[in-house]
């Protein structure tokens, strides 16, 4: 892979030029579909874009010292890693480079959650600290399942390249793994049954409580990019392999939208669970799926 195509992927598709409008579109689809399910009309299509521009134009608190510099840095790190994760998704058929490296992708996936935890603690607001503690407890519980599910898919095929995984036909074993990943997505995206860290009406906005203006805009954008990356990961694992790049891109976008709709429907239909129920859900109910998936993956590997 030469440098031009690598840059094109990182900056155009599925990188920034695609990912930023897609992030806004996904945020809109989420809000709009929740509104429609509640019998409302919902926000106009450009709403997330207007919110972003408005937040950019607001003033920010003067922050001093190391804590201030850190608070300004966390949203940027989260934004960068979420954008990197989207850029790494092997949507188009290609070869070489970092493209589709599963370990790097998982690390970039995990960084925004780490940044949220750190941001809540460095804001020194009591609500931020509670939100961060909840986010930490949540990420410990869903990440076991999430990582085991992805590992089971990787272990059954002897490879850590997402591209090679996506190229193989969908097996029942992989479907089990994908199911476990989809169960983890609401917690990863802070959606309703598991929207504990930023629980409004309870702890203001959790880790984001002290953020304002452009910094908040960066958080919103990072959240949107997380949407694109998370749905994109599932879409690349489900999508059948196509030779034509435009068909691959089209199927990728359509599948991502379908997953966004599914997650929004779940979010609109459920209420927020308490932290102990959430942790118990992941450790007791969902872990079985993941353990089943990885044990059968290891079994398949040694039998062959």
């Amino acid at each position: 892979m030469n440098i031009v195509t690598a840059l094109a992927r990182l900056l155009i598709f599925p990188g920034l030029l695609f990912a930023v409008p897609a992030a806004w579109a996904f945020l809109w689809v989420e809000r709009k579909s929740v509104a429609l399910m509640q019998g409302r009309v919902g926000p106009p299509f450009m709403q997330p874009f207007f919110d972003f521009i408005k937040l950019l134009s607001k003033s920010t608190p003067p922050r001093r010292g190391i804590a201030g510099a850190l608070m300004r840095a966390w949203p940027l790190i989260a934004l960068g890693s979420a954008a990197g994760a989207v850029g790494l998704l092997p949507v188009l058929p290609s070869s070489g480079g970092f493209e589709g490296d599963l370990i790097l992708l998982l690390a970039l996936f995990e960084l925004p959650a780490m940044c949220i935890i750190a941001a809540g603690f460095s804001s020194r607001s009591i609500f931020g600290e509670i939100g961060s503690a909840r986010e930490a407890a949540l990420s410990v519980s869903y990440n076991i399942v999430f990582l085991l599910a992805i590992l089971s898919i990787a272990a059954s095929q002897h490879t850590f390249r997402l591209e090679a995984l996506a190229a193989l036909p969908v097996s029942p074993l992989r479907l089990l793994g994908i199911l476990a990943i989809v169960v983890c997505l609401p917690a990863k995206l802070h959606l309703n049954p598991f929207s504990l860290p930023n629980a409004e009406q309870e702890i203001y906005s959790g880790p984001m409580t002290e953020y304002a203006g452009p910094e908040l805009a960066m958080w919103e954008l990072a959240h949107g990019l997380e949407w694109v990356a998370a749905t994109g990961l599932v879409a690349t694992l489900i999508a059948p392999h196509f030779g034509a790049w435009w068909l691959a891109a089209l199927v990728f976008v359509a599948l991502s939208f379908a997953i966004v709709l599914l997650l929004s429907a779940v979010a609109a239909a459920t209420a927020r669970l308490a932290i102990d129920t959430t942790v118990r859900f992941y450790w007791q109910c969902t872990l079985i799926f993941a353990v089943l998936a990885i044990s059968s993956a290891i079994f398949v590997r040694y039998r062959l």
């Binding site: 926000p43 207007f50 607001k58 020194r124 304002a212």
Partner: protein
């Protein structure tokens, strides 16, 4: 540059985020404000979002006749909303202290303490009146630019920042 400022004006008009604060209200106006967000009135069509933190908000919605206990909180929260910002006084209480006038537990009306941009009178006002008030405040925000009226007292937060 001109295009950017026009875009900013337009975005501010289309995305007012509210922070709701009760300063000793009887809950009548609070219920009507929440009703404005429900399916029947659906203020989200205008981009309205009820925010949990005053840091995120553009418009401060205050209900109630401003009790003596609430004055400090109102000034703190007003300082925590970053500019450009607007204040809506919802109901007759914050505008005039209503039937509670001359009560010894009150220190109203609201305008004594912070600059108010829009008054929505009524006891309680109807949700459509509140939505109209929010739309008016959003227009004021768009015209105002970055020069918000300044609160008289500077307030410090736990993180040690001085508030505007």
């Amino acid at each position: 540059m001109k295009l950017w400022s026009r875009l900013v004006c337009y975005a501010r008009r289309r995305s007012p985020w509210l922070f709701h604060m009760n300063s000793g209200s009887c809950n009548g106006c609070d219920i009507e404000l929440v009703a404005a967000l429900t399916p029947r009135y659906d203020a989200e069509q205008l981009g309205v979002r009820l925010e949990g933190s005053p840091r995120h908000a553009d418009i401060l919605c205050i209900t109630g006749p401003v009790t003596k206990n609430a004055v400090g909180a109102i000034k703190t929260v007003y300082g925590q909303v970053y500019g450009p910002k607007a204040v809506i006084a919802i109901g007759s209480c914050p505008a005039t202290t209503n039937v509670f006038i001359d009560s010894r537990t009150l220190d109203g009306p609201l305008q004594k303490h912070i600059p108010v941009d829009v008054f929505v009178p009524g006891c309680p006002p109807r949700p459509d009146a509140i939505i109209k008030g929010v739309a008016k405040a959003a227009e004021i925000l768009a015209e105002r630019g970055s020069n918000s009226p300044v609160a008289t007292v500077a307030i410090a937060t736990p993180a040690g920042e001085e508030q505007p």
